[in-house]
Symmetry: C2
Subunit: 184 residues, 2 copies
């Protein structure tokens, strides 16, 4: 899909091969390459799961819910809302579908009985792992191409791209989830 082949022989003539002198770093230089590579990389990255999900009549919203609930068993609804950055009304519909179809369960909190803590069912975990497997395959393919150090470099780059005031929270979340899944 999506053969990219722009061939604009336009009015504006290609006036010689202007190309910037190599190694140039003008003050307000725009990093077009990274902007566009991020766009295409992310598009393909979410494309793999999307194909599987569409067969189940699920969308990307369902994927996000399933992913984070699987990674953080027992999380509160409010936590999920914060991570996904959506309203509870939006989450409501998607979450209800996943509960109705047996991918997620909600349990009353032990300490605070107002809470509906979220867990994936075995069926939910199977799907979550399948989707993560697809994404992992792509990532590992990339790392294999790039050689050792690529994983660490990617981790550092992506971390540095996150809002500075959120960064610590994200890293904590990832570390917590690793522990949570490690014991299963």
């Amino acid at each position: 899909m999506a053969d990219i082949n722009v061939n604009a022989k336009t009015a504006t003539p290609v006036s010689g091969l202007a190309g910037r002198p190599a190694g140039d770093s003008a003050p307000a230089e725009l990093t077009w390459d990274i902007i566009e590579l991020l766009f295409f990389a992310y598009r393909d990255f979410v494309g793999d799961p999307d194909e599987v999900l569409s067969k189940l009549a699920f969308g990307r919203a369902h994927h996000r819910v399933l992913h984070f609930v699987n990674r953080n068993p027992g999380m509160k609804v409010a936590d999920l809302l914060d991570i996904l950055n959506i309203t509870k009304q939006s989450l409501g519909r998607v979450l209800k579908q996943m509960v109705d179809q047996g991918y997620v369960v909600q349990k009353e909190g032990a300490q605070d009985r107002r809470q509906r803590l979220l867990y994936v069912t075995p069926k939910g975990e199977v799907l979550a792992l399948k989707l993560a497997g697809l994404q992992t395959a792509r990532i590992n393919r990339a790392f294999a191409e790039l050689g050792p150090g690529a994983h660490e470099a990617a981790r550092r780059f992506l971390t540095a791209m996150i809002d500075i005031d959120n960064r610590e929270g994200v890293l904590r979340l990832i570390a917590r989830a690793d522990r949570a899944k490690a014991r299963s």
Copy 2:
């Protein structure tokens, strides 16, 4: 926005600090960290432009159109459809708004008069550069933190994440666009 602070003191006890032994690379290991970092990094990356756009009653769809038209002046509608991976009906609505509001113009192709080649207006370019500037600021902040070599490493990683059969096309597109903008 979005304080992340998951605090599931759940039924399932955190059984010690299980954490995987460092430097581990089990066979079917899932790269959760990259999966989640990509999610959060991309979320923040598109968040900056989104804020500006929402004030103009534009969405991410408008951003994508403006971005690629600005980068590839004189591109065909069909090229844009391929890149964005959407239907012409979807593009139609968004494109019409941008034309009506004077951000984009369409010119009849010189060789093939069926074509409606796309160009940004000066007004459109101002907006495109403003949005790209926000994203560049984030990227450069990251590179500044990470030190030399970070740009190259990021480029290599993101490139390797793109579908192999699309990769060449994407790289050509980026190179072409660099030349196209260099002469303006």
